[in-house]
């Protein structure tokens, strides 16, 4: 890329875009070329670092939104990190599908600690993680596994997931329950946090491709459905579902994130857009991505901000809302 092109890209990314809807503004930052940012996690502290998995470069990325500075910490030979979350200890925790291990990076020392899955498990194709209310990390493996790591003791357990291949996104509800989505299995499952047993819960649409899950403040579980192009909502209290089709000709719902106002953020690969769904009005707002084929595979946020890695373009974008 020539210098003039690089300058043009930096200038374009530095100029925030403003959408009419509820004054949502966006801002984007470039990360190292070829890094392929897959997942992102923002430190809950306002203005804090934003972590991303540089899947194609085997590293954890650190973006400082205040300065735009980016640092990447290599996670070791063979690393291909998929998911990243911020733990209750404030550290980034990574599900590394290349290493077949859970990885923690100490931000004070930059030391890396790794918990490998048992050899007897084999390759799990690790995907995403969440912490429960007791500080135990739960994770999914797309080859057909879910498991837990107790950071206090280092004990790691892995279970065969019901119906085999597919466990993908995973999330904890405000009441402390843990659910995961099975993409290939087209269901969600609730994990018994004592026994590890997962109970399958089938959404109403057959073969919908449940990809990721997130919970709102009322303990509703929101599901992004890749195959059906829908977003669905499971109410654990009544075991009932609601389903909404995303707008457009051929929606494909990849990621879901529910913000602190209970608005539901979704990425639609069919429309190459970010969407915000208002459950009260049952209406969608559409924020087209600025770049073709953005391929946003996951979102995570903090107060007033929803973060999205554009994996195809090595760019991280924040959507700022709520009077910003």
């Amino acid at each position: 890329m020539r210098l003039r092109q690089i300058l043009a890209l930096v200038l374009a990314l530095a100029a925030p875009a403003v959408f009419a809807q509820d004054k949502v503004t966006t801002k984007s930052w470039p990360v190292p070329k070829g890094s392929g940012p897959h997942d992102v996690a923002a430190d809950p502290k306002p203005g804090g670092l934003v972590y991303y998995t540089a899947q194609r470069q085997g590293a954890l990325g650190l973006l400082d939104p205040a300065t735009g500075n980016v640092e990447q910490i290599p996670l070791g030979q063979g690393s291909a990190p998929h998911g990243v979350i911020v733990g209750p200890d404030g550290a980034p925790w990574i599900t590394d599908s290349g290493l077949n291990a859970i990885v923690r990076v100490d931000m004070a020392t930059k030391a890396i600690k790794t918990w490998a899955l048992p050899t007897s498990t084999g390759y799990a194709n690790l995907n995403t993680a969440t912490f429960d209310r007791k500080g135990v990390l739960w994770f999914t493996g797309q080859s057909g596994y879910h498991g837990r790591l107790d950071p206090a003791s280092g004990k790691l357990d892995v279970w065969n997931s019901p119906l085999g291949r597919g466990p993908y996104g995973i999330a904890t509800t405000p009441s402390g329950e843990v659910y995961y989505a099975s993409l290939a299995g087209s269901h969600i499952a609730k994990i018994n946090l004592e026994t590890g047993e997962a109970t399958v819960i089938k959404p109403p649409t057959e073969g919908q491709g449940a990809r990721r899950v997130w919970a709102d403040s009322k303990n509703f579980v929101w599901v992004s459905e890749w195959n059906s192009g829908q977003v669905s909502r499971y109410d654990p209290a009544t075991a009932s579902w609601r389903v909404w089709k995303l707008p457009g000709e051929k929606p494909r719902t990849y990621s879901v994130y529910v913000d602190e106002t209970d608005k539901v953020w979704l990425t639609d690969w069919g429309a190459n857009a970010m969407l915000r769904f208002d459950p009260a009005k049952e209406s969608f707002e559409i924020f087209p991505h600025e770049r073709r084929g953005a391929n946003v595979r996951q979102m995570l946020g903090r107060k007033g901000e929803a973060w999205a890695p554009e994996s195809a373009h090595d760019i991280i974008t924040v959507y700022m809302f709520g009077g910003a």
């Binding site: 070791g76 030979q77 084999g122 390759y123 194709n125 993409l183 084929g293």
Partner: protein, 122 residues
Amino acid sequence: MNARGLAVGFLVLGLASSACGAERICGACHSFPGFAEPAGAMQGPTLIGLLGRKVGSVRDFDYSDAMLEAGRAGIVWDEAMLRRYVEDPQAVVPGTFMAAPIFRDAAERERVLRQVLARRAP
């Protein structure tokens, strides 16, 4: 090699020697001979009959526009194409839905690729 390097080395060796075949890696999204499909639809097209097949041509599979365009351009799956694609899907077909390969190590990638090719349909 320091302690961390040694630990990572053992990890990689352990992974390579454990059950990390093509079923575990490719099978999360694709079906191929000898590996049954789960009840739901797969995220990637079947690998059965891949070699010699035009890109984006499995009937009734819901491809990305990028894959359909590649197919219209006449691109056909052969070993060289598959090798390049598995190394860097976005570089070969920009806009494809497939994420980065799990194994960045070339030898490991080749080992898995060989497993897939060895199990192609008769």
